[in-house]
Symmetry: C2
Subunit: 142 residues, 2 copies
DNA sequence: GATGAAACCTAACCTTT
DNA sequence: AAAGGTTAGGTTTCATC
């Protein structure tokens, strides 16, 4: 990961379907040199994959919630991670400053799926209780 | 947006650099038919763009915070949106159930940038106060 | 959906440091 | 060795029919 790699990623972030030649022009490399670097970054796991950004209004009616997690006693971040990894509805999660032990951002197909996912988080051995805020209207998605 | 479009998006979500021919094989269309549909979805804004998913540990030391927003009186979602749109550090935002009027998820390059962004949100006319939880260790990113 | 020209991807080979 | 450039082929894209 040198400045050239960073430049390539910046270009791919803007348009992941850009040709290697186009990217090369912008970072001052030939097409094959760019491809080699991209291949290496994919192999190394620096680049996890290439995706499409879809209009969130089209994505189907999704329901989202911010969930504060309160645990019993002391729980290691690793243990929390193990619990949350098993719940695909968890989009973002991290331990945080403040009262809660962690905050989890969840996204599900409908209320039922969200409730079920929440239940799976809540029943984990070390989780004492949760406090949820359901997203009513989406203001920003970036 | 019919089931075939949904299939194409699903394939692009898995790999946005996949060839039209490959996608066509999976959804039962020729390469040119797939290209036409993708072009149309891009033109219609259904597809916003193509990006790369990067290992978050590589992305440079980012700092994140969950911020609860409390407003003075009644504020329309639209007004909130106008405030938040101007702050690029805001990654996700929505009005929510519960005490807070909105919850905002922010991401900045460092503590200084986060503080400055928070300040910009806080000083908006209708915002009364905020309550932040800084993310300490990232557990899940999807 | 098919066609063909242009553009692109990709691997092998060569040059440079 | 390690990293980039060049070349050449096969493939893909893309406008047109």
């Amino acid at each position: 990961m040198d400045p050239v790699d960073a430049g390539i990623i910046e270009r791919l972030r803007a348009n992941a379907r850009a040709g290697y030649g186009d990217i090369g022009e912008q970072v001052g490399l030939s097409a094959s040199a760019v491809k080699r670097r991209v291949d290496r970054m994919v192999a190394d796991g620096v680049i996890r994959g290439f995706t499409v950004r879809v209009d969130p209004r089209i994505e189907g009616s999704v329901i989202e919630a911010h969930v504060e997690l309160f645990c019993r006693g002391t729980v290691s971040p690793r243990a929390l991670q193990r619990i949350l990894e098993g719940v695909p509805e968890v989009v973002e999660a991290g331990t945080v400053t403040g009262e809660a032990d962690a905050i989890v951002f969840m996204r599900a197909r409908d209320v039922g799926a969200l409730e079920e996912a929440l239940e799976r988080v809540r029943t984990a051995a070390s989780v004492d209780h949760t406090r949820s805020a359901i997203v009513l209207s989406k203001l920003i998605t970036r």
